[in-house]
Symmetry: C2
Subunit: 514 residues, 2 copies
């Protein structure tokens, strides 16, 4: 057995059995070991941003890390934008970055770089094993590190000779620490705050958005005057018919201020105090209203489910009679294709228990709203603000949940960062329907340009936000990667294209020109 | 005037007047300043790897840095693979990375990350100005840092409030240091070595590959027994008819060993001692033959042109009668399309003074050879080994040299990392003809798999090197981004497609299925 085989056996022994990869020469022993360890499912991406974005989607849906196999420093850096997003979703991530053989590094061959330095800013755990007979043990530690609440980025740099050197055995799994429990005095203090009857908001993210946590939060909201909000961007939120209703904090600061106006107590569960996405001249960064006290019920790494259930019990909130969302699909739209009719179409035909990956940005906001009371689904958003996550995230979610339909709502500008993900969808025959909202613009920037007070902007500035020249043809792009694609011209056509796509196995792409 | 305007005026005042960009909200004041400083040409990329790869191509052809405008940490990390390649080409690079406003960072908004930490491993110079009235001066220093021989990566992190804050004026350009001259004793010592008549090789890269340096090297080779080699991967090499002939060190270590066998003196000019691209079990990393002494004529940051001319003079090598390559185009090929006929076709029809961007990898190696004595051209290679450079490099070379034709020879696997570059070619109407060598495989890895001794590799491993499932259709992909494209079926068709593409303005793509 060589190091690579001991590594793969250790991983599958810890139930880490999916690997997204874009390997190179220094990873060839890892790749060769796939035949010796057939339980490890390996999935190829044509670009590393697809690899880590897919691992994020997989982690959000399973709670487990996939392996990300990357080729030296450049493979790592190509992957980091979606590692940034994954971190902000509290997704457990396990990066394995191949490196030159330990003795080869001093020759400064062309692909040499400071991989540790590049990995450190986005890694919670970082190790470079130097001996093959120690690799399995380090791998077991890496898995445990990734699974440490609320989900961490563990990076294992794997020199080629550590991969090919002799090893004896796999290592046993190491149990990750459990989420810390919130103690009773903290829960009681917040119960007293809520009993005061003063206006309160529970602001939630991370594990506070799991279904049992939402049910407990809903009990609390019924018993007190507290209102329920999630952060603007969440890793995964179960919503739609049959789920508790939770509001979403507005993206634009003035909207978020309106959401929180008058709040005297802001109670954080699995998140931190809200701040504006960007700074704007003369406007405050903090979104906490003046005179509002911030309380910490549970940090992201603490047990948010138990904390909320404990709080609900302490308040004497009843378990029965919880208000759940009633199914209210939009009527099937007719006529012109625009943001409004697209939203209605998706709301109307969304399959039960779909996974809705939403990187629709500006023109997707109506769809975000219209699906609130549609069929029950999981809603996956871009948590870190680095666009180009949606398509890879859909890949990973579909790998994690082969029995569910994935709808990926994607802006045209965002889609182009990681368009290669379409190819992996075909290769793995994933049930992903991608809806491209083609507004031919970085539209959000046209809005932000005014908001940041960039008053001198003229035609040369606006040209940098315009992606209409040349026009992207997503039907051609999709077909170029083997994805069946169409561009409906009316809302009726969109509805039938969506239904056909959900019905037929494998990926589809629908370009909506708006 | 705000900080951003003072920045742009400082840049154009230093003759830095092209900016490749993929901006976001935090860069909106930079973008808005484009209208106030119209001399700055701004070119949009749909992905940041296109931005930095284009800046590399521009720098290789002009010797000057373009500006790279990037959006926070994720924009930077998306760009870094091609920064790695640019560094290995000694290209002057100027990265401007927008960041949150200084006072906003402590709120840890979603896009916050440790940009300094991410930039440091690949930056030779790194500064974050904290005041708008100081930005212009820091920008002048950044330009000078980028232009420091042999070409450096300078990274300026630009907080949003430094961009929008008040500034008074642009800063004056700061002259970069000149390349250090090589002193006479060093030249004389190497002249004595060469006069010994023992087998010698001049191994060259960087400025040692400029045309006057090559002419001096050719005089030295005529006067002594020295043979001339370039490194395997070079940033830019003038070659073809009318240029001195220089051999290329083999990529595979056994080939490079053969190239250097029997050499007693290895004289380095603008490079370092050669090493294998990767380590292989049981094989040496160094490519310096046993018993061979390594001599340093000039380091990359030293004046290689003068050092070679000085050495040639000291050896009494005549200026006249230098051997130059004779034009020897391959005959126009006929019949089946394969690596050999593609090589012949390109050799046959390459326009005079074309720029040949060569990321053809395995199936491109015959073209690399066949063009040696074709029409005079500049040859641009992937210096850092991070594939996905070719298409962006072609963008930048074409922007730098609007009066020349660019031929981009590109592997299918490599093309997919930064395929978005095609869109920028259309937008800027660049005369780039891209030839895709579609072998449906990461073929180099199929070769390396055996070479690294990964003997356990079976069908599951080989599937990870196979990109035939689904088949990529580059004609569709190109058309999806507005590039006229074709897929010739014979060598004759390829020749006429190439001629048509060179004749018609704007970009073209030719997919060669092999």
């Amino acid at each position: 057995m060589n190091g690579a085989q001991s590594l793969l056996e250790t991983l599958v022994g810890a139930d880490i059995d999916v690997c997204f990869m874009n390997p190179g020469t220094s990873e060839m022993h890892f790749v060769a070991a796939l035949d010796a360890v057939p339980r490890m499912r390996s999935i190829l991406g044509l670009f590393e941003g697809v690899v880590t974005g897919a691992a994020d989607g997989y982690a959000r849906m399973t709670g487990r890390p996939a392996v990300n196999l990357l080729h030296l420093g450049p493979g790592l850096t190509n992957s980091l934008a979606n590692v940034h997003n994954a971190r902000r979703a509290y997704s457990p991530m396990l990066l394995i970055v191949g490196d030159h053989a330990t003795y080869h590094k001093r020759f400064d061959a062309p692909l040499t770089s400071d991989i540790q330095g590049l990995a450190r800013p986005l890694s919670d755990w970082l190790r470079t094993p130097l001996r093959a007979d120690n690799l399995a043990q380090v791998a077991a530690e890496a898995v445990s590190a990734a699974l440490t609440p609320p989900g961490k980025v563990a990076t294992l740099i794997l020199p080629a000779d550590v991969s090919w050197g002799p090893a004896e055995r796999a290592a046993k799994p190491i149990a990750p620490p459990a989420a810390a429990r919130v103690d009773s005095p903290r829960v009681s203090a917040i119960a007293r705050v809520l009993k005061s009857g003063e206006p309160a908001v529970l602001l939630m993210n991370g594990t506070a958005l799991r279904e049992p946590a939402l049910l407990a939060a809903e009990r609390i909201a019924r018993k007190t005057s507290a209102r329920l909000f999630s952060d603007t961007f969440v890793g995964r939120l179960p919503r739609g018919a049959g789920r508790p209703v939770i509001s979403r904090l507005g993206y634009f600061a003035e909207r978020a201020e309106q959401d929180l106006r008058g709040t005297r107590h802001l109670i954080l569960v699995g998140t931190k105090a809200p701040a504006a996405f960007f700074a704007y001249p003369g406007k405050p960064s903090s979104l906490v209203p003046e005179g509002c006290t911030v309380h910490h019920l549970a940090a992201p790494e603490e047990d948010c489910v138990e904390a909320l259930e404990h709080l609900a019990d302490e308040l004497g909130a009843e378990r029965s009679g919880v208000r759940l969302c009633e199914l209210q699909r939009a009527p099937r739209p007719q006529g012109a294709l625009d943001a409004r009719s697209i939203a209605a179409a998706i709301s109307a035909v969304l399959p039960d228990h779909a996974i809705l990956v939403d990187e629709g940005n500006t023109d997707g906001s109506l769809t975000s709203i219209a699906t609130t009371s549609s069929a029950p689904h999981d809603w996956l958003l871009n948590t870190g603000g680095s666009i180009g996550l949606g398509l890879p995230l859909a890949v990973g979610a579909a790998v994690a949940c082969p029995d569910r339909k994935v709808l990926c709502l994607e802006g045209d500008g965002s889609a182009m960062y990681t368009i290669q993900a379409l190819w992996t969808m075909v290769r793995e025959q994933l049930d992903v329907t991608t809806v491209i909202l083609a507004n031919r613009s970085y539209r959000i920037l046209n809005i932000e340009l005014g908001r940041v007070g960039a008053s001198s902007a003229g035609p040369r500035a606006k040209d940098m936000l315009d992606i209409s020249r040349p026009e992207l043809d997503f039907v051609s792009l999709a077909r170029g990667m083997g994805v069946p694609a169409s561009a409906p011209r009316t809302a009726e056509e969109l509805c039938s294209e969506l239904e056909r796509a959900f019905h037929e196995p494998g990926p589809h792409l629908i370009e909506c020109k708006i």
